[in-house]
Symmetry: D2
Subunit: 151 residues, 4 copies
């Protein structure tokens, strides 16, 4: 199972109190590498080496993405509610499986972006800026009602 060292210290027990849940969640950081640019290149090389480009049309990749989202859902389907950080609800094998399925979704999302010529890093950055305008802090702070209305 993958992990980055700093985060493990923060992996406290799955307390149900809101405060500790948030704290744990907000201490989590992704590793600085590989970057999206680098992952995109790795995946193009992988595909090119196998001469699979003819299979990788946008709608084929989209359906493959849906397939992987299905596999990700299967991991969670009989679990009932799961706490932030997973707590004790996943075995080590299940966590490893989860990391692989999240990665498979991501791989096809990157490939779909490439096949549609969408510059994923810049597109996401712009969407986050747009969301800041759609969900102004003063109207949305801690209110699930408002939150639901916005969605």
């Amino acid at each position: 199972m993958l992990s980055n060292k700093e985060n493990q210290a923060a992996d406290t027990t799955s307390s149900k109190s809101t405060s500790s849940t948030c704290e744990t969640n907000f201490e989590f950081k992704f590793s600085s590498e590989p970057t999206l640019e680098s992952l995109g290149e790795k995946l193009l090389d992988f595909c090119k080496e196998r001469n699979w480009q003819e299979f990788h049309s946008p709608r084929n990749l989209l359906l493959a993405l849906v397939g992987e989202v299905g596999e990700l859902s299967e991991i969670f389907q009989w679990k009932g509610e799961v706490p932030v950080g997973l707590g004790r609800t996943f075995t080590d094998n299940e966590k490893e499986h989860l990391e692989q399925e999240i990665s498979d979704v991501f791989i096809y999302l990157i490939r779909l972006a490439q096949a549609c010529k969408v510059d994923l890093p810049k597109a996401v950055e712009s969407k986050i800026e747009l969301n800041k305008k759609k969900y102004p802090i003063d109207k949305c702070f801690g209110k699930s009602n408002k939150y639901n209305e916005y969605h």
Copy 2:
């Protein structure tokens, strides 16, 4: 609509010949910034500022991801087959919408990884290495049969 300059030059007409399709696809590069690490931090800040962490449990985020994959699918649902690079099958407005929906899927995937304490950059890197072993070049080169059997 977002784009990175270098890629636009490569956005040739949507020829149906396999060779040009591949060529176009493999010239595409993501921008070097923002990185996954940086996007992860932006999204945690966004969520923290709005005090939304209590809504962001793993299964809530997973269902939100499924919702966004649905919105992405709706863009493609009546289009029939779409070429790599999209060709002339999307208007500028549709391309902008596509960039936003791909980004929304990505945003919830990042948030889900964070809520599950999965170090997304390292997890994907490992999965790509695993896939290299699962799909050896000599057995998989250009063969859709082999490809399908492996899946």
Copy 3:
């Protein structure tokens, strides 16, 4: 909001005790009409009257199905765990919305079956028989571990 009269009596409060949850669930019956055969005919007529058949290829319908599953997921995404029968977790408006989205998923599933020439009533009957063999009662009774292993 739709409902069949007999079921409303059984719609007791959303007790969290397992026994009452099961009881409520197992008293629920679908109306005897319309049948699947009749719904299939209605949907073909609907499509034929609008001359939409050219849009209804198998993969177009599949992506439309994914889109509707996304809309269904959005109803549940911020709710946390929801009891059998929904209890007090849904307003009347939300229940009506839920009925519409479940129906939309079903409509595209019927249309997909038609477009693939799958005789849905007989196919499901056969799959239930197959599942009886795959999940023998003596091995699966009340055991979530076993249940998960079978999946």
Copy 4:
């Protein structure tokens, strides 16, 4: 592989001409039995016999549905466009697999409706009536633009 006899005669070659595609599609009929009411009862019995009701909460069933939609998508993911009736794009084994996966989606959709106390036959009938109003024939006839705008 399941089939109903009458339909097999109509399973002509997968002509790409629109007219024959439509004709074939509109001759297809589901068997008159089992009905939705009967399938609902079979599935409740199946679940009750195995004492699985505790696993079948609405969100668990929804995620199981997403999982099955993923498996259905995997069947179509590398196929490119597929004609109405499937033509020669599926082997007999693949058709049997398709029938099973469509059935699995349907099984969890029925169980989800039951767990939410949605009277599926009546809900779908009402939604079809609503769609007739949303998509008036004179505005929607054969126009994909209109069709897309309505969605």
